[in-house]
Symmetry: C2
Subunit: 354 residues, 2 copies
């Protein structure tokens, strides 16, 4: 997994793209004009791991509310704007850190120039967001609903910004269809140096929405594509940050808690693997433990995985066998296994900090 | 998504590979010798969508239990065997439909020949399963824990079978590390025509185990790789079939129930999208409805997605707008939206059957 090189931008002091960590985003679903409710949701999203939060700005009252939101938000904010140059300018003047705006959807050339000049003055990057649900008609007629249409739609907007000497650009190509999302982003990555924001749009509610997002976002990250991402779920956005962080954790791109490797426990299994693994996950929840722990039930793959983990156990006889940093340490009876594993994890953590 | 061409095999009357539908597997975690408990679990896994179930065969009593299991199982069975040629032969003689066996792990050449001859006589395919936890030491020393080591391990076993004129082969390369799994299977697909069984091994318990599996299996399916798959979860295997089927559904590779496209409902949203989408998913659960339904909250991407779906609604004003087969049908007040959508779904289903 070699990460693609992209042209980094700065969003309210936060680096996005280049070699910066991949950022997880979310978006409020409160009425943006209700600054109190919106701020409460922004804080909750930030507490759950969102590094960047987007809010809809659909009228002047929303743009005005941004002043209070920006002042008090613990994370940089993105204004989501469609069509209206005045809302874009008001949002920037009220301190928003990034715009999500498609310049090609602003009617007058002079208006585009004013927005871009304002963004440049304030150091505010612009994300161009192309969505399968709102592709330009001429492109759909010529190319169908294809990666080519998605990419060309994005590059049209890019050309407008580049002609005005504006390069603090982030791009996203989102489709409700997973293969279309992935193929579009791959094609775009070959043509454009700008960071990509990943997501499967209209992915649905929790459950299938998570599966679609994990596949779409995850397979792009495996290709080294993606600098920021959002798992979009219908309903409350509160589950979104964890869903995004879990995708990074699954790929080893975020090592902020235990990575538990545990076997599916077939008929050959001599340990209650799920119980031990579940207890270890539960008792270390939220703790910063960047280690891999293996809980393996039998002697087939057990010793191999247990050796490779920072700490591992493999069942197989009356006692399980405990490994640490690839070396056999001692035999442990099953009933003491969870305790001893947890103790070893704490010890390793203390040693790492010491 | 063009599916890779593979050499199909037959497993107890079921086609695997070639153009056959992608099969979802699972594996029992009961004591195989307890035929009653094992059969109950096989039946439950089959009812939940497993097309093929694997059981551990680690002693002669297991192999003997197979007779009853095979007789009464609603789906073909796979015997999981390590090292022991007598268990392989006994399993085949007791009617098992497929072996999971690495021939290179059987010590004596004459024993390998006996097993292969027996499999050939009975038309039983062999899956070679290479696992990151049990790679041959010489390959790890030479190549490290890399796709090259994984692929070479598989090809060694393949060569043994091919030399004996045996080609009813299925291959799997599973690692607990998602990128290693994906890169290994991609490399293998370039070198070998045999069907691949996909899975991330030792993926952990539900939750992170699902995320790792969705990314690993999903990104290979996006490449057209994979003829059968298993989501391996620690603990009870009962959640495994649905997890596997959901991966196929997310990619449109299985169209057996409603595909609900619904927006993340930002501040711009005028409908309670999650409530409507959730109710439609809940009320159609388990029903064979191979349609896409879009529930969209606003006028930005709403009409586009709603038009593209078989049935779609888009909010935006006092009433939502209902589309069917890409055409505007009528305006519907929000409080009647779920009912009218469900009625249209039933109507479409009746028309499709009629």
């Amino acid at each position: 997994m070699t990460r693609r090189e992209t042209r980094a931008v700065t969003v309210g002091g936060l680096r996005l793209g280049g070699e910066a960590p991949i950022l997880v985003q979310s978006m409020t679903n409160t009425d943006t004009r209700d600054a109190e409710a919106t701020l409460a949701q922004i804080r909750e999203l930030a507490a759950r791991g969102a590094a960047l939060v987007r809010v809809s700005v659909y009228d002047q009252s929303c743009a005005e509310a941004l002043r209070a939101l920006v002042d008090q938000s613990p994370v940089p904010l993105v204004a989501d704007i469609h069509f209206d140059p005045e809302l874009a300018i008001a949002s920037i003047e009220n301190g928003v850190h990034k715009l999500r705006l498609n310049p090609g959807n602003i009617e007058k050339k002079a208006d585009i120039e004013r927005v871009v000049a304002c963004a440049k003055t304030h150091g505010v990057p612009i994300r161009i967001g192309v969505n399968s649900g709102s592709l330009p008609r001429d492109l759909v007629e010529r190319f169908g609903l294809t990666p080519a249409a998605m990419v060309k739609a994005a590059l049209r907007h890019v050309a407008i910004l580049e002609r005005l000497g504006f390069f603090d650009i982030v791009l996203s190509l989102k489709a409700s269809d997973v293969p279309l999302t992935v193929e579009s982003c791959r094609a775009l990555a070959k043509l454009s140096p700008y960071p990509q924001h990943l997501g499967v749009t209209e992915a649905g509610i929790q459950g299938m929405g998570n599966v679609k997002s994990a596949i779409g976002i995850g397979s792009l990250l495996l290709d080294g594509i993606g600098d920021t991402l959002r798992v979009s779920l219908s309903g409350s956005p509160l589950p979104e940050p964890k869903a995004g962080l879990d995708i990074l954790r699954a790929l080893g791109l975020l090592r902020d808690r235990l990575n538990v490797v545990s076997c599916p426990s077939c008929g050959r299994c001599t340990l209650d693997v799920a119980k031990i693994a579940g207890r270890i996950e539960a008792e270390t929840q939220g703790e910063n433990l960047p280690f891999t722990v293996a809980v393996m039930g039998c002697a087939v793959n057990g010793p191999g995985e247990a050796r490779r983990a920072d700490i591992g156990v493999a069942g197989g006889g009356a006692n399980a066998v405990l490994f640490k940093n690839g070396r056999f340490v001692r035999a442990v009876p099953e009933e003491r296994l969870a305790e001893e594993l947890l103790a070893e994890i704490r010890l390793l953590s203390a040693q790492n900090k010491g």
